[in-house]
């Protein structure tokens, strides 16, 4: 894999403990380090997947498991070339457009699961909502009986098949070397809330709105795709600590 070469296993100190300095609860703390990513050539390259057993108590001092283990043994086979995988995704998208008449989407199914879970806890509130309530009107099919739910479930299943075939199913919490487990998980939760909200607002996520719509020449979707990368590159400066 020329595009993402296996990083060499880090020398001695990478196997040592992760700094015990958990990120404060405030999720979007601006980085205090200089902004350019390549400013610290002396730092050893970090392994692609610093694995941490999920059973560890959050915030505990935890060792990276990579010590001594070759990276590949843990991560399974290397992923495909991004062009090959992108080509495959493009073909699946084309197939979906021809057969279903809609694109690929994950957020729609997720929203229905959210509405369903919410309706279990607060049925009256959800039924009265001008947004989720639409799915609970009399005469509507059950909220989960939507093709979007099946597509999301299929996505999960396809991921499992592929990951199992490539020996990449490995319980872990992925994070950079400078962030605690608790910090990473709270940021994952916060990022999830943002992503869930945004994909509802924009009527689709990365695949359902950005890629599908751009492939169909729709202006709004192309703008959405551009804004997605703009927002991501801007936010990347603020959470360098999470990943590097």
């Amino acid at each position: 894999m020329a595009d993402s070469p296996r990083p060499t296993p880090p020398p001695a100190e990478a196997g040592s403990a992760v700094p015990v300095d958990p990120l404060p609860p405030a999720p979007l703390r601006p980085a205090v380090e200089p902004v350019l990513p390549a400013d610290d050539p002396s730092a050893p390259p970090t392994p692609l997947r610093p694995a941490v057993a999920p059973s560890l108590p959050a915030g505990a001092r935890c060792e990276q498991r990579s010590g001594g283990l070759p990276e590949g043994a843990e991560a399974g086979l290397p992923p495909w070339s991004p062009y090959a995988a992108g080509f495959g995704l493009g073909l699946v998208l084309l197939f979906a457009l021809c057969v279903l008449g809609t694109g690929l989407d994950a957020s729609g199914g997720l929203a229905r699961v959210a509405a369903w879970a919410d309706s279990l806890l607060r049925p009256e509130r959800v039924a009265a909502s001008p947004c989720f309530g639409e799915w609970f009107r009399a005469g509507q099919p059950q909220v989960l009986s939507s093709y979007l739910v099946f597509m999301a479930a299929g996505t999960c299943l396809g991921g499992l098949l592929s990951a199992a075939a490539s020996r990449r199913v490995a319980p872990m919490i992925e994070r950079g070397p400078r962030i605690s487990v608790a910090g990473r998980l709270s940021l994952a939760l916060f990022g999830g809330i943002l992503a869930g909200f945004a994909s509802q607002l924009a009527r689709g996520c990365t695949m359902g709105q950005a890629v599908t719509g751009t492939a169909l020449f729709f202006t709004g979707s192309a703008v959405f795709l551009g804004c997605l990368f703009a927002g991501a590159y801007a936010a990347a400066l603020l959470v360098r600590r999470e990943w590097r």
């Binding site: 020329a2 595009d3 993402s4 979007l28 390549a38 692609l48 991004p82 062009y83 992108g86 995704l89 493009g90 998208l93 084309l94 457009l97 057969v99 008449g101 997720l110 919410d118 639409e134 009399a138 005469g139 509507q140 099919p141 299929g154 996505t155 999960c156 396809g158 991921g159 592929s162 990951a163 992925e174 994070r175 998980l185 994952a188 916060f190 990022g191 999830g192 809330i193 943002l194 992503a195 869930g196 909200f197 945004a198 994909s199 607002l201 009527r203 695949m207 709105q209 950005a210 492939a215 202006t219 709004g220 192309a222 703008v223 959405f224 804004c227 927002g231 991501a232 999470e242 990943w243």
Partner: protein, 420 residues
């Protein structure tokens, strides 16, 4: 091409579930093979360590873009049967920025988190829980964000219109831009991300692929028929129809089974038998209703139907919509259907049809009965006249004989249906 499941309104049916699930499996497979079961790899692009996200997404866009163009040119895909994603400037700009932030902060986007979950990544599970909360938050805040969500809306806006470029040229430009982005991102990955440069053999292969891509893009300019605009014209259904409110399930099947209409004679029998849970809703103007209506009918003029449906119509039981003819009642049917009512049907040919079929003496119909059936039919006819015209302001003389001009309906009925 008989149509897509979307155009046939069969997405939320058994076949739709199976196909969507299958396509989801393929989708998840390629996402995982792209390495997107790893949040570190996903976010690597934003630190120029591994530009996979950008390359994968852009490759998928270009492949689908060219594929759609060739398939439509060969007639294998009709864009009129494909979902239309409208432009909502505010929602899509803000949504894009926020989703981008969520992608880097959380390390996933919704689809990749599903794949990450399948790869047993605990942070993917936490992200998905967050995304569920985010969706609920959106529903809770909906009144607040509604102006942004629905504002600055342009239906079916295409890039070539926005940029004022011929679509053929835009296609070549987009493919050229993609090759440029691929090249620059690989370069950034080496310079800023300090990744080794790929093998010369791989670089040669990629250069060849880029040339092939540009050649294909050029070829689309030689294809017949405009790639967009023309083929999209007249497509009304928009994203909200497919995404926000569930499309009417099994609508086509229902139409085919003729459960959407009721014949005049059938309705007459049901009313005469005093069928419970059957409500005739007369959608003609109040004046016409006052002159003549079917026994037990209520009057909701069509202009009030949308607003008064919830207050005046019962929540259960079958509803029969009656106008003078069929078209207005069919429109009312659609309106009720969109409100979620399922057990609604239309009286075929309306009041005029009812008069012709039920209240015209059998001997005066187009095919008068002969033989032994005559007596039974005459008796049924008389029973109907007694039932429906008792108390009606029609000068119908009693007795075995039909009135002098029984074929002409009472003065209120023959008002022609206004053209819809």
């Amino acid at each position: 091409m008989n149509g897509t499941l979307y155009s046939l309104e069969l997405l939320d049916s058994g076949i739709g579930f199976i196909l969507a699930g299958l396509i989801g499996v393929l989708f998840g497979f390629f996402l995982e093979q792209a390495g997107f079961g790893s949040s570190r790899r996903l976010t690597g692009a934003f630190y120029f360590r591994d530009m996979a996200v950008l390359k994968v997404l852009l490759t998928a866009v270009v492949v689908a873009l060219l594929g759609v163009r060739f398939l439509t040119a060969f007639g294998w895909l009709d864009l009129g049967q494909v979902v239309v994603l409208d432009t909502y400037w505010g929602a899509q700009i803000v949504g894009g920025l926020v989703l981008g932030i969520g992608l880097v902060v959380g390390g996933w986007c919704p689809a990749t988190a599903l794949v990450g979950l399948a790869s047993a990544k605990l942070d993917a599970l936490v992200f998905l829980v967050g995304a569920v909360f985010g969706s609920i938050l959106f529903s809770e805040l909906f009144p607040l964000v509604q102006p942004l969500y629905e504002g600055r809306h342009v239906a079916g806006l295409h890039l070539d219109t926005t940029l004022d470029l011929p679509p053929e040229r835009l296609m070549v430009l987009l493919c050229g831009a993609a090759v440029l982005v691929f090249t620059v991102s690989s370069w950034l990955q080496q310079v800023i991300g300090r990744q080794p440069s790929p093998d010369p053999s791989i670089r040669r292969r990629r250069a060849a692929a880029a040339l092939a891509l540009l050649a294909l893009a050029w070829l689309t300019t030689r294809l017949p028929e405009a790639p967009s605009g023309g083929t999209h014209a007249g497509v009304v259904p928009a994203w909200p129809a497919a995404f926000r409110t569930a499309p009417e399930p099994g609508l086509v099947a229902e139409l085919a089974a003729e459960r959407t209409h009721i014949a005049p004679l059938e309705l007459a029998e049901l009313l005469q038998a005093g069928t419970p849970d059957l409500l005739v809703v007369d959608i003609r103007p109040a004046a016409a209703f006052a002159q003549f209506h079917l026994p037990g009918a209520i009057n909701v003029p069509i202009e009030d139907l949308e607003t008064q449906a919830t207050s005046k119509l019962p929540t259960a039981g079958r509803i029969v919509l009656v106008a003078n003819g069929t078209p207005y009642a069919a429109q009312a049917w659609l309106a009720l259907r969109r409100q979620g009512r399922t057990d609604v049907c239309v009286l075929t040919d309306g009041m005029l049809g009812f008069w012709r079929e039920c209240l015209t003496p059998p001997s005066l119909t187009e095919a008068p009965p002969t033989g032994s059936a005559t007596a039974a039919l005459a008796q049924a006819y008389q029973a109907r006249r007694d039932f429906f015209l008792t108390g009606a302001p029609v000068a119908a003389p009693d007795g075995a004989r039909a009135p002098a001009d029984p074929a002409s309906p009472p003065p209120s009925v023959p008002r022609e249906d206004r053209a819809p």
